[in-house]
């Protein structure tokens, strides 16, 4: 943990980031500060990258979040985070983000193991295990839940949830926008 060169962001860059994300000016500056605190000494913030471990020291992505590794996978490039990756992640999780963006990224986070572009039964079982914080979930509970979920949301009966089906279900949820949010990215 060192301080990178105190390169304050130029005004144009700040404006650009504001146009590209759903974050306010203060939020962008806060993330910039946090990033500079975490990135290695002497590097320009735009060229520095953070590993997954370093990112995990952010309060939102600490041990408590059962999906933190999925989040890191989805938003990083080649397993490292650049500053703009972190901004992109913060934008998706901000309160002002539009539903379609959140649903898109939620689908990518939940479409887990085989990453085949669908949420299939293995993915569902993995999610359930994470939600219950234990790998020791009764078999019948797992099967029951999977059956119910697929029965509700799987419209074309292929035992998988495609993005369209996921979107269809989540757009009806009153809680989705509220729960898929992270406020503060400061250390």
């Amino acid at each position: 943990m060192g301080q990178c060169i105190r390169h304050p962001m130029t005004w144009e860059e700040l404006e650009e980031y504001q146009a590209l994300t759903f974050l306010t000016r203060n939020e962008i500056l806060c993330i910039h500060d946090t990033f500079c605190k975490l990135c290695p000494r002497g590097k320009y913030y735009k060229e520095a990258t953070l590993t997954m471990d370093q990112i995990s020291s952010l309060p939102a992505l600490r041990q408590v979040n059962p999906f933190r590794d999925r989040i890191c996978r989805v938003f990083s490039h080649d397993d490292v985070f650049s500053f703009e990756d972190v901004l992109g992640m913060a934008s998706v999780f901000s309160a002002q983000a539009c539903p379609s963006l959140k649903i898109e990224y939620a689908f990518r986070i939940y479409a887990d193991i085989n990453e085949n572009g669908f949420i299939d039964e293995d993915d569902l079982q993995c999610i359930i295990q994470r939600l219950l914080n234990t790998t020791d979930v009764g078999d019948d509970l797992l099967k029951n839940l999977t059956k119910h979920i697929l029965g509700e949301s799987d419209l074309d009966n292929d035992h998988m949830l495609s993005f369209a089906e996921f979107e269809h279900a989540m757009s009806k949820s009153p809680d989705f926008m509220n729960s898929f949010r992270i406020h503060s990215w400061g250390l």
Partner: protein
């Protein structure tokens, strides 16, 4: 043609020049950025050539035409290129030509609009940041280039100006949004609470903050339009009877106990109705105070109504689903139950536990809906429980009525003890504290599902508060009627006293005696001020009870559990008292009813809203501290989502219920003859009539006369009822069409599925038939059949 070709060569030459210069510039990873810089250089170069070209164009018309055609061709080529990957050299080709044809102009404008749309919606795209940056920069460069070109020449200055104003407006909006988010108070506090306790507890604080905002606006209205004018421009304290403490009360008027009861000097201050003078205009501004008082009273309700309904509408819009969330219980539980805001381990553990229980509950629910228990016993128990609760409600209502009657007798006696003076408030607070747990214990008989049980509980608490409030009002009404009936007598006494005083003076001295000191004038009992005082006392006692409950119930309990745990037999933290959970619904209901009392009382005590603003402010800090220091996160979490609209609905109901008594008193009771801004009038609303007659031109009063005619109002009401009926049936029809469409989609999908499976089996069959003659292809065919079976979305190919 030649000039044009040479121009193109120039450009290409220029391009290579610029590209050669790039390595010397600051290293930038993006190719497009280089091109943007290249373009900027371009436009400078172009402008210098432009003057020369202008002269060339003017000389040869033919060349002009040919060049125009060339331009069009290049333009079209450029468009195609833009669709794939916009490369800069071709863009700048036709950019700076003033004589661009009209259709090209329209075309370019279309493209500019398109690019602007891209810029506006780029944040919605799920692309990685680098790609978004590229697209943004390219689009911005394009827009700048063409807007610059389009803005040149006569008639286009307006366009350029418009674009500039647009840009400034967007920037201003963005800065204003940023500023707004900074202005919102207590944001950090609420975020902290959210990360510790989850979003349902934080929703209470967000509701509190919203209430604070509404009350602040109401306070501003009342303070600025009623209190300040009267204090600044009206008669000062002590000048007229209504503004002076009567002689009899003078010696005790400054005692703390009297002030605490809102008698004494406080009663005769701008906080209450009785202070205001009924002069039609006051001060040099000719401010119509009675009119202002009435209109502010009405607009308090109007503003509150508007704000509540707007909030409800925006909440309803967020539920984009058609309310068929019941179809997706499991999916929602799966994908939306984890609250990403949670930031500490304790809350997370609780969340895991609650998710586990909720999963198990839903499965059990599914199974149990088929089970049939001993239904007769359950029904009997439920009827019994309801009967007991109705008895409780009636009992509490009667108790309040009795106590209010007693307090009226007490007020006539002297030397009443502190308890007897405050009996009403104490009894109401105690009822509010002890009845809800009583209801909960009785409700254990009913054996409902927890969520349904919670709804019943909330409904019963609501009925309790409402019943109490209305009984209180009824008892107060009796008092008011009594006071009104005494008014005639007091009016006579006052009249004769004054008469005697002045007549007596004429006999004794030649110099006119000074007028009777206002403190000595006999005073009527001002019923409006009495009502105002009652509401203020009720509010203050409610505040005290809430704060004391939090201190004792939460903080002291937490201290006890924490410090006594070392020397106690059983584990206090896990066992009986343990730390308390934050009671969301109780607190929200308390807030709603407090606001109802404010709405009821603010017409008769303008200062009440100010007291409420102070209360909400301190409550925010106090409760934030109390929650963080003495409460633990909930074990079982109910989603706060739909309940937002439920609480708003309650608030709306309370608003209407608190409007009723005020409207009744304004319409049907005559104002006191010697206090308040409407004194001397027959009814309070006469002030409107008076203002229309005296201050507006004649035709306005005619118009109002026509509008107020029942012959016009009754058809208007009928029309509104018809409109409601029509809209209701339209919405029902739309909902029906919706369900039918959905069924159609599902049926279509089923049919497709069946079709595909039929085709697949037919294909398999035919393949197998043909393969009976070809042994070598057998394996391939079955593989093909499997492939066709597994990918339902790809068309079958034989």
């Amino acid at each position: 043609r030649r000039s044009h070709e040479s121009k193109r060569e120039e450009k290409e030459g220029g391009n290579t020049e610029i590209k050669a210069r790039i390595p010397q510039r600051k290293k930038d990873i993006r190719r497009k950025r280089r091109e943007v810089f290249g373009e900027d250089e371009w436009s400078k170069a172009e402008k210098s050539c432009n003057g020369k070209r202008k002269r060339d164009w003017k000389t040869s018309h033919k060349e002009q035409k040919e060049a125009k055609n060339r331009e069009k061709q290049i333009q079209r080529k450029k468009e195609k290129q833009l669709k794939k990957h916009s490369s800069s050299p071709s863009i700048s080709n036709s950019s700076d030509n003033e004589f661009i044809a009209e259709e090209e102009m329209a075309h370019i404008m279309e493209q500019v609009e398109e690019k602007k749309k891209v810029i506006a919606t780029i944040r919605n795209k799920p692309w990685p940041m680098m790609k978004k940056l590229e697209v943004l920069r390219e689009a911005q460069a394009f827009v700048e280039k063409f807007e610059g070109a389009l803005g040149k020449g006569k008639g286009k200055k307006f366009y350029a100006y418009k674009m500039m104003m647009n840009k400034k407006w967007i920037k201003f909006k963005r800065d204003f949004d940023n500023f707004k988010t900074q202005c919102i108070p207590w944001e950090m506090k609420i975020k902290e609470i959210e990360s510790h306790f989850g979003s349902s507890v934080a929703s209470y604080f967000i509701f509190l903050r919203w209430m604070y905002g509404v009350n602040l606006v109401l306070f501003g209205l009342i303070f600025g339009l009623v209190i300040i004018p009267e204090i600044l421009m009206g008669m000062p304290y002590g000048s007229i009877p209504r503004k002076t403490v009567p002689r009899a009360e003078e010696e005790k008027a400054m005692d703390f106990s009297v002030l605490w009861d809102f008698e004494g000097y406080i009663k005769y201050s701008a906080l209450f109705y009785g202070y205001y003078n009924n002069q039609r205009t006051i001060g040099w501004l000719k401010y119509r105070l009675p009119m202002a008082y009435f209109m502010v009273g009405v607009s308090v309700f109007g503003y509150s109504l508007m704000v509540v309904i707007r909030s409800m509408a925006s909440n309803a819009q967020e539920n984009t689903g058609e309310g068929n969330g019941d179809n997706f219980t499991f999916s929602f539980k799966m994908f939306t139950s984890w609250d990403y805001l949670i930031g500490n381990t304790e809350t997370a553990d609780n969340k895991y536990a609650s998710i586990t229980t909720s999963f198990k509950e839903s499965i059990v629910d599914e199974q149990e809906s088929n089970k049939e228990e001993n239904i007769h016993l359950t029904r009997f128990l439920r009827v019994l429980a309801n009967f007991l609760i109705i008895c409780c409600l009636c009992g509490s209502g009667y108790l309040i009525y009795f106590v209010v009657k007693r307090s009226q007798e007490f007020s006539k006696m002297q030397n009443v003890s502190w308890y007897e003076r405050n009996e009403v408030e104490i009894v109401m607070s105690l009822l509010g504290m002890f009845c809800p747990p009583l209801f909960e214990t009785i409700a254990a008989l009913e054996n409902y599902h927890p969520r349904i049980g919670l709804k019943w509980q909330l409904g019963r608490i609501f009925a309790l508060f409402l019943g109490n409030l209305y009984t209180f009002l009824l008892a107060l009404m009796d008092d008011v009627h009594l006071k009104l009936s005494n008014e005639e007598a007091i009016k006579n006494i006052t009249h004769w006293t004054l008469f005697n005083y002045y007549n007596a003076s004429m006999w004794n001295e030649s110099v006119t005696r000074p007028p009777l000191h206002p403190a000595d004038v006999p005073r009527g009992s001002c019923w409006e001020t009495t009502v105002g005082i009652e509401f203020v006392r009720l509010t203050v006692s409610d505040i005290l009870v809430t704060f004391i409950t939090i201190l004792l119930g939460d903080f002291l309990r937490a201290c006890f559990v924490r410090f006594m745990n070392y020397c106690w037999c059983w584990d206090l933290e896990a066992g009986f008292p343990s730390y308390s959970e934050f009671d969301i619904s109780g607190n929200v209901l308390g807030l709603i009813f407090n606001q109802g009392m404010i709405w009821m009382g603010s017409f008769y005590a303008p200062g009440l809203v100010g007291i409420n603003v102070l209360r909400l402010l301190t409550s925010m800090y106090f409760q934030c501290w109390a929650v963080m220091s003495s409460n633990v996160p909930h074990e079982r979490v109910f989603k706060a989502s739909k309940s937002n609209n439920f609480y708003m609905g309650l608030l709306l109901l309370v608003l209407f219920l608190s409007l009723l008594p005020v409207a009744y008193t304004i319409m049907s009771l005559p104002p006191s003859f010697d206090c308040g801004p409407f004194s001397g009038k027959n009814r309070m609303y006469d002030v409107i009539q008076e203002t229309i007659e005296n201050d507006f031109p004649a035709f306005v009063s005619k118009i109002f006369g026509y509008i107020a005619n029942p012959g016009l109002i009754i058809p208007a009401i009928l029309l509104m009822a018809l409109a409601i009926y029509y809209l209701n049936s339209v919405s029902k029809g739309l909902a029906r069409a919706n369900t039918q469409l959905r069924k159609k989609i599902q049926a279509l999908r089923e049919a497709e599925k069946i079709n595909k499976s039929n085709k697949a089996s037919a294909a398999m069959k035919s393949l197998q038939d043909t393969n009976n003659f070809k042994n070598t292809n057998q394996l391939q065919a079955t593989e093909e059949g499997k492939l066709c079976w597994n990918s339902p979305l790809t068309p079958l190919q034989f």
